[in-house]
Symmetry: C2
Subunit: 310 residues, 2 copies
């Protein structure tokens, strides 16, 4: 059995798992430190130590929120990691610090897609789209049983497909994207804009001085806050349109919805997305189902480990 | 050298080519007869005879406007062929009538995509979307060098991806699709609706009692007809948004635009679509180019022949 440590390097926390074959033996997390690559490498060393060290690990996989050169082991661009410039040779930095030979980088969302496909909600399905609804909206694709990377390794950006041309601004600078309506950061911006314009909502009070987290959305929804209901209706519609378009283009059999927002809003949110997709299907005969992700927020770390085994 | 006859079975005409290896030796066409499968088979026999018969043909490929079961040689659904019910065993009907062993069915748009990929504008490209703008808007996909069929063989429907959720009605019964704005039939319906509501346009006069053909659109545009300019602006925007979404999702390197409307409107139309795609690209680093199809309306017949050789 291959034993691998998988690490999911996030903007707020770094999560790790020990994977023996397909079994998760242990998981731990530390806060993402400020201070750039050196501090990140130290946090990864600390995390791996807390997981029992590298003595029994054949390899380490690291999922990174950004563009990575898988073969070179270099992070090309990771705007959400503190003080990461361009071209950080993270694989060799970690390999040197931990004295392990094999360190493999992957994109975090791509890794999570691999995890859901091999061990999660998409196990056994050959034509799958994953949609992770969190601060932004990311995704990954499996077609004919194989992960789709695209011409430059950037495939899967379901969050930046257009559902209302010329519509609401997106965090990326364009507009009318799925993420414009369904990403947490875009929902927060829209809620604060409407609130500042005089529209009442409990969202702003619940968030206080901090970020309007997914849990805040869930709480305001449970309380029946009108603006929250409306914003989440818009999110469901945008996800429905974007996913239905992907189904028309790719004839998918399965869509897996995960991410922080989907986790907090629960099965009812995923069921509403499935209904929104169904009402927009081009082919009534499409076999597509929309289901919740199965691995929760460990999918990135598990997937990073899986990628390192192959 | 393999010698194959390729047939493109259209709603108004049946076109045929003789392909020797990758070279088109001859092409012919007959009108699509009314009268169902028997009449269609007789028309195909006549067409193949006019191309020199089957004496020197190793196989016959037939592209069909609808859903086909490639392996069984059966047409499952072809709403645009006169009097085709469900499940017509066209491959064996043609094989018997022409006394040839190998008759291979394919979807016409899928076949045209294979042709553009192997011999046309997408030769040498591994991640390609084709978009055929005609009465409707169809398309096909090549990823990693291989044609994408999807879970049920229905992949490629770029025309039925959503660009304005809740927008203009589409021929398919849903709304806000690329085809709603860019398909000839939808443009015609919108033009006649606006004209009936009192908006002036030369489109309706130019069309007379018949269909508002692609040539009519081109003529009205050349004359500076205000409604035509507006409708084609909307078509370009919808194609730009739909294609940009496909690029975000699939990280394509090339998009090939063909079909009757694109052929009649010429290179300026394709250039405007490329501009509309560029202005909507999620990744500025995307290598994608948008180019005109190279094989014109023979792409379906050539592709049907290519599919029959493999």
């Amino acid at each position: 059995v291959i034993r691998v440590v998988g690490v999911d390097l996030g903007g707020t926390k770094v999560q790790g798992v020990v994977l023996h074959g397909t079994e998760v033996k242990q998981d731990e997390r530390v806060e993402t430190p400020p201070g750039g690559p050196d501090a990140i490498v130290r946090a990864i060393v600390e995390l791996v130590d807390s997981l029992g060290g590298t003595k029994h690990a054949d390899a380490i996989g690291i999922g990174v929120p950004g563009a990575v050169d898988h073969h070179a082991g270099v992070v090309r661009r990771a705007p959400n990691l503190p003080d990461f410039g361009e071209d950080v040779p993270l694989a060799s930095l970690v390999a040197d610090a931990l004295k392990v030979e094999r360190v493999v980088l992957s994109n975090d969302v791509g890794a999570a897609t691999v995890a859901e496909h091999h061990l999660g909600a998409a196990k056994g399905s050959d034509d799958v789209l994953t949609v992770f609804v969190g601060t932004g909206v990311g995704g990954g694709l499996v077609l004919g049983g194989h992960a789709v990377h695209g011409a430059t390794g950037a495939a899967g950006e379901i969050g930046h497909t257009v559902v209302v041309d010329g519509g609401r601004p997106c965090g990326c600078g364009k507009s009318g994207h799925v993420e414009s309506y369904a990403g947490r950061a875009c929902i927060e911006r829209e809620a604060r804009r409407r609130h500042a314009a005089g529209e009442p909502t409990t969202l702003v009070e619940l968030a206080g001085d901090g970020r309007m987290k997914s849990g805040v959305l869930a709480k305001a929804l449970a309380e029946g806050d009108a603006m929250t209901i409306e914003l989440l209706d818009e999110a469901v519609r945008a996800l429905g349109a974007g996913i239905a378009s992907a189904v028309a283009l790719l004839d998918l059999s399965l869509v897996v919805v995960g991410g922080g927002v989907a986790d907090k809003l629960g099965p009812a949110f995923v069921a509403r997305i499935e209904e929104a997709v169904r009402s927009r299907l081009f082919l009534a005969t499409s076999p597509v189902r929309v289901v919740a992700a199965a691995l929760g927020d460990l999918s990135g770390a598990i997937g990073a480990a899986l990628v390192a085994t192959t």
